[in-house]
């Protein structure tokens, strides 16, 4: 069976004790007749990056939006820091796949949007926004409008907006899918640094097996509708070998191969 190699990899990595920042408990979600998620449970360790990896249409966005409080699950519940989610909250921030920037607002106003909605005073929120605009490498573009930026730059604005509100949990829905390969690699490296320096929990949706293995502390592999978790993989050995060496690491290559072997059956 194609599954067995993955089992071996997971077996090698001794399951660590961790504290969950987000717990998904027995979540089911139906859209009318369509059963998108069925009885899904998953733990997201604090301060780590967990990827949701799975074929198109398997319910990754649905799960992320349920965690964000933007969608109601049909049954089950989500806990963030021990509190049951009943809607969007200060503890979570979302990075949208299609950026979701306000086209009539400048970069700085877009980045400050979340702070503004939280009632932070204008001068203070601009100072914070400026700091994060710099952090994502967009210094000098504060007064530009989204249509004046490239796709990659727009995504950075979306990222800065999510970072600016300083939430514990960052939900990222395929944040790098709309940018070119070089930019994407740069973003992935930046993301690894971000996970290191910001003490936040990242939940990261991706289509790309390589990307998931490259950036994740934990990878949850989802199978198609009704979606459930088929594997949880925790790469262990290559994380601290430096960003340049990860892609050459034997464990990295093995995990990529094994995930592909197990997903291949669902693609046809």
């Amino acid at each position: 069976m194609a599954m067995s190699p993955i089992k071996e990899v997971t077996a090698q990595t001794t399951p660590m004790e961790f504290e969950s920042a987000v717990s998904v408990r027995n979540i089911s979600k139906n859209y009318g007749d369509v059963e998108a998620l069925r009885d899904m449970s998953l733990e997201f360790p604090r301060g780590q990056l967990t990827s949701l990896l799975g074929p198109s249409g398997c319910g990754k966005t649905t799960l992320l939006k349920i965690i964000a409080g933007l969608l109601e699950p049909t049954s089950g519940q989500v806990e963030v820091n021990g509190k049951t989610v009943s809607g969007p909250g200060k503890d979570r921030a979302f990075v949208f796949q299609d950026f979701a920037l306000l086209p009539w607002a400048t970069v700085i106003r877009n980045v400050a949007f979340g702070l503004e909605m939280r009632g932070v005073a204008a001068s203070e929120r601009e100072a914070i926004a400026e700091k994060y605009i710099k952090e994502v490498g967009l210094a000098g573009f504060e007064q530009s409008y989204p249509h004046e930026l490239s796709g990659g730059m727009r995504q950075r604005v979306g990222l800065a907006r999510a970072l600016a509100v300083d939430s514990d949990v960052l939900l990222m829905d395929e944040p790098f899918s709309a940018v070119d390969e070089q930019t994407r690699r740069k973003f992935q490296e930046d993301l690894l640094n971000l996970v290191q320096i910001e003490n936040k929990t990242f939940i990261f949706v991706t289509h790309s097996i390589e990307e998931a293995v490259y950036v994740s502390d934990q990878i949850a592999i989802l199978l198609p509708r009704p979606s459930r978790v088929s594997e949880i993989i925790r790469p262990s050995s290559f994380r601290d070998k430096g960003v340049d060496n990860i892609r050459r690491d034997p464990e990295y290559l093995d995990i990529v191969d094994n995930i592909w072997a197990s997903l291949r059956g669902y693609v046809e």
Binding site: L102, W104, F113, G114, M117, H147, R161, V165
Partner: protein, 253 residues
């Protein structure tokens, strides 16, 4: 560049007026004056104060009607666009209003409201309001789901989502509706003066036609079109100032 756009506008004006002048000289019809004759008549009527007096009459129902249509139209449009019950309740009314043959309704209006200002204001409103309501409600309904979700996820209140997301996102289409509504309102104001009681600019048109003073008649028609174009340009300027970065290129003139 402003210069290029301005140049194109001037060029199209020259072509249009040139064609008018030629058509008047052929002449296409004995009742069709040349451009220069009409402009002379316009100049005379402006100098002897006739135009100002006429517009002081015409602008009253026009301004009141347009103000009511804009404020009420946008408000109803927002309401209808945000609530499917009100959509169900009100949308048909405005669709019918838009399609109604206004000339047939005027006798009814006169019967109900007399020949005064009220009837004229109502005519302007019937012309201007439906397109404003329908554009506004359509635009509001079509707010991209993703930016509304963005607002929710960053904890925007319902009011903030309306004021900071839905309305700005809908503004290009709302303004397009305003432009269409206002042009229709101009037509309504003149129509009211032709069909109810001849006053203001409508009086100049009716009177000069009855004495076969066609240059004056065309001068009056030209002046109202000119006023409408100037007003629509002003509206576009306002939109640009209010919603910078939202420009997607409009042609209104």
């Amino acid at each position: 560049m402003l210069n290029r756009a301005l140049l194109l506008k001037l060029l199209s004006a020259v072509v249009l007026f040139g064609a008018w002048e030629i058509a008047g000289r052929i002449p296409v019809s004995f009742a069709f004056p040349t451009f220069l004759e009409s402009m002379t008549a316009l100049f005379e009527m402006t100098m002897n104060g006739m135009m100002f007096q006429a517009y002081s009459e015409t602008l009253r129902p026009l301004a009141i009607g347009i103000a009511i249509s804009a404020v009420l139209g946008i408000a109803i449009g927002l309401w209808v666009g945000l609530n499917s019950f009100f959509d169900w309740l009100f949308s048909p009314i405005f669709i019918v209003m838009q399609a109604a043959p206004l000339a047939a309704l005027i006798p009814l209006l006169v019967l109900a409201y007399g020949i005064g200002l009220t009837s004229k204001v109502i005519v302007v409103c019937i012309m201007a309001m439906p397109v404003i309501v329908l554009n506004t409600s359509g635009a509001v309904r079509n707010t991209p789901e993703s930016i509304k979700e963005m607002g929710q996820s960053f904890l925007a209140s319902k009011t903030s989502i309306l004021l900071r997301i839905v309305i700005p996102a809908a503004s290009p289409v709302i303004f397009a509706g305003l432009r269409l509504g206002i042009s229709a309102g101009f037509i309504g104001a003149i129509l009211a003066e032709l069909k109810i009681t001849p006053t203001g600019v409508g009086d100049i048109i009716t009177y000069s036609r009855s004495i076969a003073d066609y240059p004056s008649m065309y001068a009056a028609i030209f002046s109202i079109i000119l006023l409408a174009v100037l007003f629509l340009n002003l509206l576009e300027k306002i939109e640009k100032v209010l919603f910078k970065g939202n420009q997607r290129g409009y042609v209104s003139d």
